[in-house]
Amino acid sequence: MAKTYQYCVAENWGKGFIDHFESSKITFAGYPGNVWQVPAYNKHGNLWIAKVAGTVKTKDEAQAIVTAQVQAAQATWDAQTDEEKNDPMNTRPADITLEN
């Protein structure tokens, strides 16, 4: 099945990391671990990855990075006391599944 998205790892440096022109051309999705999703087979997505010097990852590699981040956060959460877990703000991090 042809993939819909491509993934890379790039650190968001702030202003100019994603500009309005890029944002108007493609849809970005950022995930834990500095993982970014952009459309596959797309000129603007490719140009943006090159601009931010992103390290391209397969979907499985990107999923592994995100999952490691989430699992670390889940382990930290699980180790908390019941009182801390009862803080409604402090919900257990949910799993994230990347799309192909």
């Binding site: 500009d19 309005h20 409604p88």
Partner: protein
């Protein structure tokens, strides 16, 4: 099958080139290029771009301000609640004095990063009535909320704000609406539906409360509108959610973004026009408990959390709309650089220039062509200008203190400036109302002088002494000075300062630092265009000022520096002459239109 004429009511026009009389969607035949063409308005789509990152990633902050001037105070990131406070200037976040009390799930109202009020917070046994006010330097405790609550919707400005809804320490949702006037709280009419975790935007006379959690629906899409007296139910959001952020100015102009729908946090953004919610551009990073500030056309999203990550990401929203463009106008009769210009796009005056290019030449523009009129008495370049085509003032230049008044017929000398200089900035409404600032004497200066029709009077200097800056301003009590440079070295500046009649204050800087650029407009609606970002470089970059931030728009067709700018505001600009590359002088004039069209060619 119906013919084109039967369907459209006219035959296809045959025209050599681009047909100037075309209406939206109409087809014409370009006999020169042998193409069928059509035209439509050029518009940009709404989008989010990344802004400067928070210094400390966290969720559930208190948020207030605008896209170019916001605060984020308190919040949560493991291991607990925070007293940190950060200030955003449109470019970067900087840490400020801490809150007196660490808090999360509190709310805020405020107009900028120098004026805000934070109230309430929680959760559970930590829920508080405490209120703190920010003056740009420190937080001070002020009158408590009438009741203990967290997850409140805060909106308005510091001394006219509302605390709406929320949750009690025992987790009951509230309908309470309380008005803060800067010193005390007054109970107002309640929400129809008790809720917390919602998004509140607007003012004390025109507000919107949307999304959140209610007793019946933990991810609500309920919306209520406030008119200063009472709350009324409005059309639902498309996506129900809690812990979303919002931005907006009234009950007819608002936006909701992010939050927690059923399932993982969302990036979805919806915009409200007073009657319906429309889904528009998503955030780049889906998150909940994020901060929101600004308006429905210029929103700000920052912080928040998702998947155990506490983000420091900031995103800036820009609403879609017409795309502006420069088009060519009539050429100057005598090409020259370092000249001055004033007036509007259809009635402008350009004068001065270097010795070899006609230093005393004056030309007036009627929107189509330039005509030579009476010369300056003292020919010179690098001078400043103020006024209109009919009533103008030319001052300084070539390190002189000359000042000359134009009465639509001729120039006459006026009392001179107190400080001789060149490469100055200028603003003003007429030959009796002007402001001269900055320049080189030959050392760089920030000196400001005000012309009252009789004499030049010394005023407070620019905070950053500069030369070769762009300038705008409707009169001598309201002006803007942007860019320029401050030797030694090139030391190019992006600084932007606002004149209020007595002093200059720093504003959001240009996106691109440069010198020898031009500007036009007023202190709240201006354009900056052209210039040199550094030695040997020249740009056609154009930035639009809306009173808060600079936004890049379409470039000049001819990149140049040492050009002249005129025009009423950021919808009416005129770029005249200038230097395209060292030694290449352009006579070209370009006219800015805040809307433009795209011409497409039909293909097989």
């Amino acid at each position: 099958m119906a013919t084109y004429k039967e369907k459209v009511g006219t035959s296809v026009v045959n025209f050599a080139g681009n047909y100037p009389g075309v209406v939206k969607g109409e087809l014409w035949y370009d006999s020169t290029n042998k193409d069928f063409k059509y035209q439509f308005p050029n518009v940009s789509v709404s989008s989010w771009s990344t802004g400067g990152n928070l210094n400390t990633g966290r969720a559930s902050m208190s948020n207030a301000g605008t896209q170019g001037s916001a605060i984020g105070a308190g919040g949560y990131s493991p291991p607990g609640r925070s007293a940190l406070s950060e200030s955003y200037n449109g470019v970067a976040w900087s840490e400020t004095a801490d809150l007196n009390e660490a808090r999360q799930l509190s709310s805020a109202a405020g107009e900028s990063n120098t004026s805000a009020v934070v109230f309430g917070g929680g959760p559970g046994s930590g829920t508080t009535t405490k209120v703190e006010k920010w003056n740009g330097t420190s937080w001070a405790e002020v009158t408590d909320l009438p009741s203990t609550r967290a997850y409140v919707m805060g909106l308005g400005i510091t001394n006219a704000s509302l605390a709406v809804g929320g949750q009690t320490p025992s987790s009951s949702y509230l309908t309470d609406t309380d008005l803060y006037n800067g010193s005390s709280w007054t109970e107002k009419n309640s929400l129809n539906t008790a809720r917390g975790y919602g998004s509140g935007v607007g003012s004390t006379t025109s507000a919107l409360a949307s999304s959140g959690a209610t007793a019946a629906e933990p991810r609500s899409n309920d919306v209520e509108s406030y008119n200063g007296t009472s709350w009324t139910a409005k059309s639902d959001l498309n996506t129900g959610r809690s812990s979303a952020a919002g931005s907006g100015s009234s009950n007819t102009s608002a936006m909701v973004f992010g939050g927690e729908p059923p399932g993982p946090p969302t990036a979805a953004t919806e915009i409200w026009n007073g009657s319906t919610w429309t889904e528009i551009a998503d955030l780049s990073t889906a998150r909940q408990y994020l901060g929101g500030a600004g308006s429905a056309t210029q929103g700000l999203a920052y912080g928040g959390n998702s998947g155990g990550t506490y983000y420091n990401n900031t995103e800036e929203f820009r609403a879609g709309g017409p795309v502006g463009a420069w088009s060519t106008g009539g050429n100057l009769n005598a090409a020259r650089a370092a000249l001055a210009s004033t007036g509007i796009q259809t009635a402008a005056l350009a004068f001065g220039g270097p010795p070899s290019q006609g230093p005393a030449l004056t030309e007036d523009y009627n929107g189509t062509s330039w005509s030579e009129v009476a010369d300056l008495n003292n020919g010179r370049a690098t001078l400043g200008a103020a006024g209109t085509k009919a009533s103008a003032l030319g001052f300084a230049g070539n390190t002189s203190n000359y000042s000359e008044s134009w009465n639509e017929t001729c120039w006459s000398s006026t009392p001179t400036l107190n400080t001789s200089r060149s490469y100055v900035g200028g603003a003003g409404s007429s030959n009796t109302n002007a402001l001269c600032f900055g320049g080189v004497t030959p050392t760089v200066t920030g000196a400001t002088e005000l012309w009252n029709g009789t004499a030049w009077v010394n005023k407070n200097s620019l905070n950053t002494a500069r030369r070769s800056m762009g300038s705008a301003g409707a009169d001598n009590e309201s002006a803007l000075s942007f860019g320029g440079n401050s030797p030694p070295g090139t030391n190019v500046k992006s600084e932007n300062e606002l004149w209020n009649g007595s002093s200059w204050t720093q504003q959001s800087p240009l996106n691109t630092a440069r010198l020898e650029l031009a500007g036009n407009g007023t202190a709240t609606s201006a354009l900056a265009f052209g210039g040199a970002p550094g030695p040997g470089s020249v740009v056609g970059l154009t930035e639009e000022w809306n009173g808060v931030t600079w936004t890049e728009v379409a470039d000049l067709n001819v990149a140049r520096f040492n050009l002249a700018g005129a025009g009423a505001d950021n919808t009416d600009g005129l770029a005249t002459s200038g230097e395209g590359s060292p030694g290449t002088i352009s006579a070209s004039t370009e006219e800015w239109s805040s809307s433009s069209n795209v011409i497409k060619t039909l293909t097989d």
